[in-house]
């Protein structure tokens, strides 16, 4: 299973950068969002991809490591905030007319 998820991470990073290295602002933001997803998934992988839901008394058997999940929660919220900000910034760049082109 780890391989599959790792491939996912790799794909997200590759596509994320591909978009980020492109030209249009909005696509760059999409690319950044993909990168954030990749980072979040990688963190979850640090829990070892085994174990059950970490709620005591609900799961039978070993519980998965709760720490990465907490970290991801924080990371998701933070990147959400920044993404929203970026969109507003993109809007501001557009505010006085002109193209959406990210460069020059």
């Amino acid at each position: 299973m780890a391989v599959a998820v790792a491939l996912l991470v790799g794909t997200l990073v590759a596509t994320g950068f591909a978009l980020l290295l492109g030209r249009s602002i909005l696509r760059q933001i999409i690319g950044l969002a993909l990168l954030s997803h990749a980072a979040n998934v990688v963190i979850l992988m640090a829990a070892g991809l085994r174990g059950g839901v970490p709620v005591i008394g609900v799961t039978r058997g070993p519980l998965t490591d709760p720490l990465p999940q907490a970290l991801i929660l924080t990371a998701i919220v933070i990147s959400f905030g920044v993404t929203a900000f970026l969109l507003a910034l993109g809007y501001r760049m557009h505010l006085f007319g002109g193209g959406e082109d990210g460069d020059d």
Binding site: I43, T74, A75, V82
Partner: protein, 485 residues
């Protein structure tokens, strides 16, 4: 070393944070100014006592939530952290005074200022790797905020570059966290000191490399600094001084913290040495290519960071002490220069060299402040920059690193050339430009006085930085203070 649970370290975060919140709701100007200054002064006072306590080697630790390390988040004030918080509060104060004097403190700026200070102090105080990430994000978004409100479209584009690159850096950071946690099972820095040597080398190395990149981007190290000149040319004087003085130094601080205690190196770190040389050189060349005071100074930030990294790269106590000394000296001087630049822009309307001249004639005190800070930047005695440079040269030659010392000397000469270019063009020469009001000059003058004082009597600062370096080179005290063993 005794371990004391104390209230001081968290205060430097919580007080500005709360003040930021209060200022959000938009109280009248006078109230907001009083509150803002009060918060910064409290932070300064706390920082001073932190420095006083930690100079003898003591480490103060507070555990958030009362949960013990290493599973709770530690807030640690050792000598280095205390010094950094002190200088951050000082610059916050001086910059805020300038911003108020220039009339640019609307409620957004006032609140954002406190948030930024909170974030910066947070990064210095936290002893947890992921919490460091969070503090970076607080600091960054506060900087995005201060950077972008009230900007033009062109400036927004430069800001976009800044934000995008930092987001990439954050991604690197998170990958590094994943790698390190997977390999060591902990995020607490003191705990990492114990566990890293025992953990599988592959993920640890990769994590260290990613952290190097993430911090390096923030610090403005070669070849990662491209966002800097764009971003720092945007905001007005006071904000620019806060940014230019402190933001990159958080990255430098993280490098110092992590690459001494968590990932120590035996002997000089070659990668960092090369990077330092490249940073010094490319930075100063970039400065020489500019024609606007603000942009010149931005590139000099990059160049001077190279010196700090050189100190770190030498990995000896003398080198690290020299590096920390350099950090503190540079923050003072760079902020001073940026405030002068800000004063010039506020009164002349432009910082372009081809539009300035004869400033020394009508702005005597401003010229004096400028030349003091400029010479200090170039390492000319009798200012702090001289001793900073001397320490690094001494440390470098003591371990036989001649090449990088030669580069540092060449760069200081070029830095002098650059500063003289500004002085000869803008301050000398014909012209009788308007006079900048005293309230815009005083904040910078305070900083100039400091650099002179340190230059005349370096012992005080040096003993502090030497103590701080001692902790980094031999982290046993830090570790035992945090982990309680």
């Amino acid at each position: 070393m005794t371990r004391e649970i104390t209230v001081l370290p968290p205060l430097v975060i919580v007080v500005p944070l709360l003040t930021a919140v209060l200022l959000l709701v938009g109280p009248p100007r006078r109230v907001s100014r009083t509150l803002g200054l009060a918060a910064v002064l409290i932070s300064l006072a706390v920082a001073t006592s932190l420095v006083a306590v930690t100079r003898g080697g003591q480490v103060l630790v507070a555990q958030a939530g009362g949960w013990a390390a290493p599973y709770g988040i530690s807030l640690v004030a050792d000598a280095l952290a205390a010094l950094m918080v002190l200088i951050a509060s000082l610059i916050a104060l001086v910059g805020l005074l300038f911003t108020i004097a220039a009339g640019r403190d609307d409620c957004f700026v006032a609140s954002g200022w406190q948030f930024l200070l909170a974030g910066i102090n947070w990064a210095f105080i936290t002893g947890d790797l992921f919490n460091l990430f969070v503090s970076y994000e607080v600091m960054l978004i506060a900087s995005y905020f201060l950077l972008t409100h009230g900007t033009t479209r062109r400036q927004a584009r430069e800001a976009f570059i800044y934000v995008a690159i930092n987001l990439v850096a954050s991604t690197f950071f998170l990958f590094a966290v994943a790698l390190i946690y997977s390999a060591t099972g902990t995020l607490n820095m003191a705990h990492l000191v114990e566990r890293v040597p025992l953990a599988p080398a592959g993920p640890v190395r990769a994590g260290a490399a990613l952290l190097l990149a993430a911090f390096g981007i923030k610090a403005g190290v070669f070849p990662l600094y491209f966002w800097l000149p764009h971003a720092y040319a945007i905001p007005p004087g006071g904000i620019a001084a806060f940014f230019g003085g402190m933001l990159t130094k958080v990255g430098v601080y993280s490098l110092f913290r992590v690459f001494t205690i968590v990932f120590p190196s035996e002997g000089p770190n070659v990668v960092l040495l090369w990077s330092a040389a490249g940073t010094m050189l490319f930075g100063v060349l970039g400065a020489l290519a500019q024609e606007d005071i603000r942009r010149i100074l931005s590139f000099h930030i990059i160049s001077q960071v190279g010196y700090m990294i050189m100190g770190l790269a030498l990995a000896s106590q003398l080198g690290i002490a020299g590096g920390i000394f350099y950090v503190l000296h540079h923050i003072v001087v760079k902020s001073g220069l940026l405030l002068v630049g800000g004063a010039i822009e506020e009164t002349q309307g432009s910082g372009r060299l081809d539009r300035l001249g004869g400033l020394a004639r009508t702005n005597g005190p401003l010229a004096l402040v400028f030349i003091i800070c400029a010479l200090s930047l170039a390492g000319v005695p009798p200012f702090s920059g001289f001793f900073a440079k001397l320490l690094l040269i001494h440390a470098g030659l003591a371990v036989g690193q001649r090449a990088v010392v030669a580069v540092s000397i060449l760069v200081s000469l070029l830095t002098l050339m650059s500063m003289l270019k500004i002085y000869a063009t803008a301050f000398w020469g014909p012209g009788t430009p308007p006079r900048a009001p005293a309230r815009l000059v005083v904040p910078a003058a305070v900083l100039a006085a400091i650099t002179l004082a340190v230059g005349l009597q370096p012992q005080v600062l040096y003993s502090l930085t030497s103590a701080a370096a001692g902790h980094l080179v031999a982290p046993a005290a830090y570790v035992s203070a945090v982990l309680g063993r």
